[in-house]
Amino acid sequence: MSSGVFRTIFQASVALAAAMPACAQQATPQPERMRELVHLVRQDCGSCHGLTLQGGLGPALTAAALRDKPQDSLVATILGGRPGTPMPPFHGIVAEDEAAWIVERLQEGFPADSGAAR
């Protein structure tokens, strides 16, 4: 019984740590993966949010629009989507630490696309 409680607490804290990657010491993606992620955000997220991320069917994702938003909720939006809106979940397409890396880049002004992976 008590080991079950400890396991639950352990699982909850693992989940909490994963949900707050901004606080955790996160892994930075490899350069080629960074390039892919930048391309994904600019081009494919861009089909709703615009190539310049000024918004479209989806809201603007500029630094000015996102700077004051909590990082963990932005990461949760990327991974889980927003039910009731056209925002789909990207869980399975980007990993949690990659979503956190994307959020940090968005909040500081997103880098330019240097094309698809070779």
């Binding site: 391309h39 494919d44 709703c48 615009g50 190539l51 310049t52 000024q54 069917l57 009731g84 698809a116």
Partner: protein, 395 residues
């Protein structure tokens, strides 16, 4: 020496005259086999020719083309390019120059040309509404906000199409409405409102201008308005097509146009299901549902209607599939390149041009053999638009 100059003076004069005449005069030509390819990342368009399968020129300075859409003047000479940043640019296909440009909104998604060719109308997300411009001068002639509710909120406008009588029909994503605005007198636009289904994301009008069908993101079904009997209001077609199952994620919204109509039926992308839905035109009975590779984006009939070609949303956007409309079965699946964003059939459909964004190319396929017959380089190409659209209602 002098006598030599005198002797050959007439030759010298003739050569000088000829070289003066040689300043480039474009040869006379028609525009029926011309079109444009959007190069979305660089804000440029290529002017292309389908007969020679070649690029003729590049025109730059068109702004943010991330969701660029194009309509044509009724003489087929000018392309009106709508940019995401609200830019409306009139491109002269014969001289490959910008004949006019206005930034008319903060965030725009496309447009349409009136039946008489005199008005070009933009549909805008921000500020939500439609705006009409003089097709010659791009001077603003009407501004119709898509306001709704008591607080005067404005909705994003989607699914704009031209109708007979210089009317325009469109849908309000945020307000679940279809509206018809009569611009036969642009100084006093008259708008009729029809309650529709939840979150219309795009729409089409059938080639005869009779039926308007809006795809819905927010519910299983589509909203249909019979414009020959508008008093009947909006009717839901294909209700509950999702059968209550959990919707799959949609990584790119489908696009609807009159190309959905083929062989007396309408071929429609399902939302959140990897299916093409087939419904009988007029009776609206479901005829078939055809399982496909992924979330369909463009479900586009070849001009003769015998085949329907389908591309897909990320991450399966390297695929194309072909449906035979006689049997309603898939007859081909192939991968023309990376990130297939759009396709456009030549006016009579012997070839199809396909943009492969991540391969920086446009691939041209023979539609009978489904073999690639040519390739053109293009920087991050998205939409491909041929002038034959100028003569089709709803394009």
């Amino acid at each position: 020496m002098l006598h030599l100059i005198v002797k050959y003076m007439w030759w010298i004069v003739a050569v000088l005259l000829l070289s003066a005449c040689a300043t480039p005069q474009p040869p006379l030509r028609g525009t029926g086999d011309l079109g444009v390819v959007i190069e979305r990342a660089t804000g440029q368009v290529q002017v292309i020719e389908t007969s020679g399968r070649k690029s003729l020129a590049q025109v730059s300075g068109l702004g943010d083309l991330s969701h660029a859409s194009v309509v044509f003047s009724r003489d087929g000479r000018y392309a009106y390019v709508f940019g995401r940043d609200g830019g409306l640019t009139k491109v002269d296909l014969l001289t490959a120059t910008i004949a006019g440009r206005v930034v008319q909104a903060g965030n725009s998604i496309g447009g349409a040309v009136s039946q008489d060719g005199r008005l070009v109308v933009a549909q805008n997300y921000e500020p939500g509404g439609i705006k009409a411009f003089d097709a010659d001068t791009l001077e603003l002639v009407a501004d119709v906000p898509a306001d709704y509710g008591a607080e005067g909120k404005r909705s994003k406008v989607v699914g704009l199409a031209d109708l007979p009588g210089n009317r325009f029909i469109y849908s309000l994503f945020d307000a679940n409405e279809i509206r018809v605005t009569d611009l036969s007198d642009p100084k006093s636009p008259k708008t009729e409102r029809y309650p529709a289904g939840k979150q219309p994301y795009d729409a089409l009008v059938t080639p005869d201008g009779r039926y308007y069908i809006a795809g819905l993101f927010g519910e299983d079904g589509l909203s249909m308005l019979d414009l020959w009997q508008p008093g009947q209001g909006v009717r839901t077609i294909l209700p509950g097509y999702g059968r209550g199952e959990q919707a799959l994620p949609v990584y790119k919204m489908p696009h609807l146009r009159g190309w959905a109509v083929a062989a007396g039926r309408v071929y429609l992308p399902a939302i959140g299901r990897h299916e093409v839905l087939v419904v009988e035109l007029g009776s609206w009975k479901e005829v078939a549902r055809i399982p496909v590779k992924s979330q369909p984006v463009f479900v586009m009939a070849r001009p003769d209607g015998r085949e329907v070609w389908v591309n897909f949303a990320f991450p399966d956007n390297g695929w194309m599939q072909v449906i035979d409309t006689f049997t309603n079965r898939l007859v081909d699946s192939f991968q023309p390149g990376r990130a297939i964003l759009h396709l456009e059939f030549t006016p009579k459909g012997e070839a199809v041009w396909i943009s492969a964004r991540d391969d920086n190319k446009v691939a041209i396929y023979d539609t009978r053999s489904r073999q690639k017959i040519a390739e053109l380089p293009a920087a991050s190409p998205s939409g491909i638009f041929f002038t034959s659209r100028a003569f089709r209602t709803g394009f």
